[in-house]
Homo-oligomer: 444 residues x 2
């Protein structure tokens, strides 16, 4: 590639690209969510230097490779390979542990040919320049920050106070920044938190279960995190607000548009009552399908664990579940009627052993809460004779209800020695479970 990829005035991007906050905001506009090459590049160089290099590379693609080596300190680079958008990737000085599994492609094994993996990494970065370049022409991070400011919002970046450390587990697919409306201390909100997710197309059953889980977990002090969508997500946020607990909604589009319309008021209240509405794309961004899917990794990564309440076979909630599993976060699934299509995804998670069966708030808290925060065992109702030993149970079982029977006959019926039967009858009499009548014994 030789000709410039952008048509920009010599003055540059039209904003102060040396301002770290503006540069970072620009990066969240330049890239689609979860771009591992952007994560690695910005992570390595910082937003300002990475943006400066990108601008040069887009203007003079022929020199990009050279400058790429120079800014990386002359060391060859390794970027995680194919599938990286779905797995934490990295851009790092090649040191033999390049984050790739050499077995996948022996020809690319650096041990076989060290220069191959470098060439591959460089190819990936240069390909990324071509997909980022079209957006260089219309950047307006200052304008987007002004919109955020109108809503009293905060732009969080990894070095800012309140940045949730849990998201760092995403590695190179961690968000470049977070556009937050409401409480900016997401790190505090995430400390004791749980993601409750489910289908838009939920059932009455799903709504009922969501209300019970949300209120029970709110009472236990959890921040309830979800995706702000209609259906189960909306019930999660609503349940938290009803219980006066903080709730966090991750949107697929910009936080200036509280989408969907049916949730607008709900999401505004979430941001106003100790919770937050959060997005990794700037104000004005459209909530496209791919962004919904990428957004799910943030829901899974922010919290201590995820519970899927209802999910059809292709529900987006399953993508959140897969992210939680990949991050080794605890994952729960609520069972439902096997006749309900809305529970098929939950049952699949249970069948695969990917999720733990969760039926109430106590069990959800056991899954994602503190060590030892165990749900009470289910005993069922106590019944007379529960605390008897085997002999006592057999004698009670053998006792007639009406006409009294002689000890010898009770022993025969119970299949017990006479002496054991006599002893057990005395005990049962003391417990008020047996009585003597007409020289025999019967139940009482």
């Amino acid at each position: 590639m030789g000709e410039p990829l952008v048509d920009l005035p010599p003055s540059g991007l039209g904003f102060d690209a040396a301002d770290p906050l503006l540069a970072r905001a620009a990066w969240s506009r330049l890239t689609e969510p979860g771009d591992p090459v952007a994560g690695a590049l910005v992570g390595s160089l910082g937003a300002v230097d990475a943006l400066r290099w990108l601008l040069d590379a887009a203007r003079a693609p022929r020199q990009a490779e050279t400058t790429l080596h120079r800014i990386a300190g002359g060391r060859p680079l390794a970027v995680a390979p194919a599938g990286a958008a779905e797995a934490p990737g990295r851009l790092a000085a090649r040191d033999g542990s390049s984050g790739r599994d050499p077995a996948e492609d022996p020809a690319d094994d650096p041990a076989v040919d060290p220069s191959r993996s470098d060439r591959r990494a460089v190819r990936q970065v240069l390909a990324a320049v071509r997909r980022w370049a079209p957006r260089l022409e219309r950047l307006d991070p200052a304008g987007e920050l002004a919109v955020l400011d109108r809503y009293g919002g905060t732009l969080l970046h990894p070095d800012a106070p309140g940045w949730p450390a849990s998201l760092d587990d995403l590695g190179d697919i961690a968000p470049l920044c977070l556009w937050v409306r409401g409480e900016p201390d997401l790190d505090r909100l995430a400390q004791r938190s749980v993601s409750l997710v489910g289908s838009r197309a939920c059932t009455d059953y799903g709504v009922r279960v969501t209300r019970a889980l949300a209120s029970g977990l709110a009472d236990r002090g959890f921040t309830l995190v979800s995706g702000g969508a209609a259906g189960i997500d909306a019930e999660v946020h609503r349940g938290a607000l009803l219980a006066d607990a903080p709730t966090v909604a991750f949107l697929a589009g910009g936080v200036d548009r509280l989408y969907p319309a049916t949730s607008t008021d709900l999401l505004r209240r979430a941001a106003e009552h100790g919770g937050a509405v959060v997005s990794e794309v700037p104000p004005g961004s459209v909530p496209g399908k791919q962004r919904f899917l990428k957004r799910n990794r943030l829901i899974a990564a922010l919290t201590s664990g995820t519970v899927v309440i209802e999910a059809a076979a292709r529900s987006g909630a399953l993508s959140t579940a897969n992210h939680a599993a990949r991050l080794l976060r605890p994952l729960g699934a609520v069972p439902g009627p096997v006749t309900s299509m809305a529970s098929v995804g939950c049952h699949e998670l249970l069948r695969r052993g990917a999720a733990v069966c969760v039926t109430d708030a106590a069990e959800a808290a056991e899954l994602v809460g503190y060590l030892g925060e165990t749900a009470p065992a289910r005993h069922g109702d106590a019944r007379p004779g529960d605390d008897l030993d085997d002999v006592g149970k057999a004698v009670l079982d053998a006792l007639p209800v009406r006409a009294p029977a002689h000890e010898r006959s009770v022993a025969r019926a119970a299949g017990l020695a006479l002496a054991d039967t006599t002893g057990a009858l005395g005990l049962l009499e003391l417990m008020g479970l047996a009585e003597q009548k007409d020289g025999g014994w019967r139940r009482r």
Copy 2:
């Protein structure tokens, strides 16, 4: 103990105790189901010799210990210890592998004091004599066999053709014999079989699921095994009959009384249509509570696996499940609404990881059927663009629905390089998902 435990005429038991079939039938009357000492004794000596020894021992308890050593060939005995009624026990010549875990009670470790375990075994057998003796006085195996004969039944014993080999996995708690009405070749019926069990107090949901599972598994050639009780069990047998498949019911009482009354006709038809009604206790026996619980081990042991359809917190179906797990037979549980008490037991099994989640007949067959008999994966409905790669999906996602957009604008919206966008648009056009209009592109 010195005085005789029985008051019998010198002529003896009143039947030909040297007849192996009569002697075995007598043992099934003498003992309660799952008595490991009886299983070990009869297994070691045979029904006739064991009965002869028991009679002597009951008449002259003082000599019992001496004769016990003599009939065992002079070798010391070991019987499985406490809890044996719930676990396969054994009575065997002590050879250092006595079937007990010495760690449980180091003082009883034969390596520490070999004579201790012998003394313990002898104590257990003599205690058993005291509980068996009361029933020696009224034995009538010939009469009970005559009753069975009136129903066209068969008494199966471990050496008889048709005896189901799968029950031998129970060890010393295997049944001493089986009183069978209907098809006597239980071994054949057990070859491809599944136990479906559940609560008496079932819900409409449970009934619906049972019908679907029963008919689907019957169509796949399974013998359906259950407990003949009201509720889920009855639906299992009914479903099998409707699908013209054999079904086996294990009763807690004698097979002359098809209990409960609501199932009498159903159980009779089960026995008449290629299936069987089976009990380990002789005709005339009452279906006591302990016998219901012991009966469950036969349901679990006969078949290749067990599926629990509905079970409350204390359902007897859970005892069947525990037996299946203990026997290392596959165990499935059908989930249900978390709001239903009738599914609490199933969800507990899933939570503990004791059971696999089963939602239809195909999944039940995968669990208990032949290797490779796998349930089809659940894909959900196919949607336009499913087979696109990531670039194609991103471009489709970015395409406007109404007013066409220029390629450059589509690339910017998708976050893709212009060249990649152009290529993807061509592909989408070929697939009929995009169209050109007024020099731009839109969805089709």
